[in-house]
């Protein structure tokens, strides 16, 4: 666990595709299965990017809108981190293209981070750390995924869960002794719990990569599609997330009552509620965006902030705990204070 001082989260914007899909219309499951799925996961609707709209496009629009609304807030950005598992290209890094698209100076440090559900928490720690070490006055964290592009539409174990979004967060250096506390963990033993078999260097793309396999009723995919072992991910989350949150609270000398909101990665309602109950947090302190936006991978924490807490983020000083957990396996918890931040309304593209 560690603490970074003198860095504030000052501005936040999130963009989602305008195209909505209802899980009631998912064609590869029975009505009964769909009803149980929606009730259990809490996911009824999702946003799906059309062909050609990438995670970087969603993040770009979020950043561009921030620049339009608060131009002074976007000056002096010295660090740009793009966290995504759906980059524009395998080579080069997407962050560098984004640095150019956003008109940021060549002196702006720009790099990609390959993380999913824990990515927002990790991204905050990396931007804040690099700002401290480089002396940058501002840092831009772009976090997002178009997970719909890597799941098989005929796989009922993944397709009805994932949704697309991109976010932009500005961190600013501050003379105040504002502190962000972090706890970051990984467990590579579980690397296959969520993975895409083909397309990397370990198992290169080939003609066989496009051959579909029927795994079971309602689950057909090829090796370029995302596989998720639901039980393994579920057990990992139940085992690790609540103890990590408790440890960070202890490290900071805080208790549940000192935190205004706990923002969990939006995995699914069954899992998140189990974690909430383990932490003994009242439900009113745990907002959800699952119902209308599904699991948006790395963008789910900022998306939940923007869709569920925008007014209060703009008008009040808040103490927030952010918990990201998933692919890797990787999990991270952050505890920070926000003070009347610039929080733009949800952007639809």
């Amino acid at each position: 666990m560690f603490t970074i001082s003198g860095i504030n989260l000052s501005s936040l914007a999130v963009a989602v595709p305008a195209h909505k899909i209802s899980n009631h219309n998912y064609p590869f499951a029975t009505v009964k299965e769909k009803d149980l799925f929606i009730k259990t996961t809490g996911i009824e609707n999702r946003r799906i990017a059309p062909e050609g709209l990438t995670a970087s496009d969603l993040c770009f629009e979020a950043a561009r809108k921030l620049h339009d609304k608060i131009p002074a807030g976007c000056d002096d950005i010295g660090v740009l981190i793009f966290v995504s598992q759906t980059p524009d290209y395998l080579i080069p890094p997407t962050a560098i293209r984004l640095q150019h698209r956003l008109g940021l100076p060549k002196s702006c440090i720009a790099l990609d981070i390959n993380l999913g559900c824990s990515g927002y928490v990790y991204g905050l720690s990396i931007v804040a750390s690099m700002m401290k070490s480089s002396g940058a006055k501002k840092g831009l964290l772009l976090v997002g995924d178009v997970s719909s592009s890597v799941v098989s539409s005929s796989d009922k174990s993944t397709a009805p869960i994932f949704s697309d979004a991109g976010s932009a967060t500005i961190l600013e250096s501050s003379a105040e002794e504002n502190r962000i506390h972090f706890s970051l963990h990984n467990d590579g033993e579980g690397f296959q719990a969520i993975h895409i078999p083909d397309g990397g260097m370990r198992s290169k793309f080939s003609s066989a990569s496009l051959e579909y396999h029927k795994i079971s009723e309602g689950i057909e995919r090829n090796p370029t599609h995302l596989i998720m072992n639901g039980v393994d991910v579920f057990n990992f989350s139940l085992r690790e997330v609540a103890p990590d949150a408790k440890s960070l609270l202890h490290y900071c000398g805080k208790k549940n009552k000192d935190i205004d909101y706990f923002i969990f990665h939006q995995a699914n309602l069954l899992m998140n509620e189990a974690i909430r109950k383990k932490l003994d947090i009242p439900s009113e302190k745990v907002p959800y965006s699952l119902h209308d936006f599904g699991n948006t991978s790395s963008a789910s924490i900022p998306l939940t902030l923007v869709t569920q807490l925008a007014d209060i983020l703009r008008n009040k000083k808040l103490s927030l705990m952010l918990c990201g957990f998933g692919v890797g396996l990787s999990w991270g918890t952050a505890l920070l204070e926000t003070d009347k931040i610039n929080c733009l309304p949800l952007i639809e593209i």
Binding site: L36, V231, N235
Partner: protein, 82 residues
């Protein structure tokens, strides 16, 4: 930890089941409503009520309600002794 209570807890997670229809010998995997989602719901219930974790392999190795009960009971005992 009692078997009748365990069966009641199991039935409570299956909205299609009429309470009292399951027996210790019921092969749970043959229930119409048993599926991968229901398995996660069951695992969450066991975690919540008994504070132990069931893996996919655990479920694969069980057939009857009694098998599940014995498994959970053993895990609870092992946890208490650890």
């Amino acid at each position: 930890m009692l078997l009748p209570d365990f069966i009641k807890n199991f039935e409570a997670e299956f909205p299609d089941l009429t309470p009292g229809t399951l027996s210790p010998q019921t092969v749970f995997k043959q229930l119409d409503s048993w599926n991968s989602m229901q398995a996660l719901i069951f695992i969450a219930m066991i975690d919540s009520k008994y504070n132990v974790t069931l893996t996919a392999e655990n479920l694969h190795d069980c057939n009857t309600i009694t098998d599940l009960f014995t498994l959970v009971q053993n895990k609870v005992k092992a946890k208490a002794n650890s």
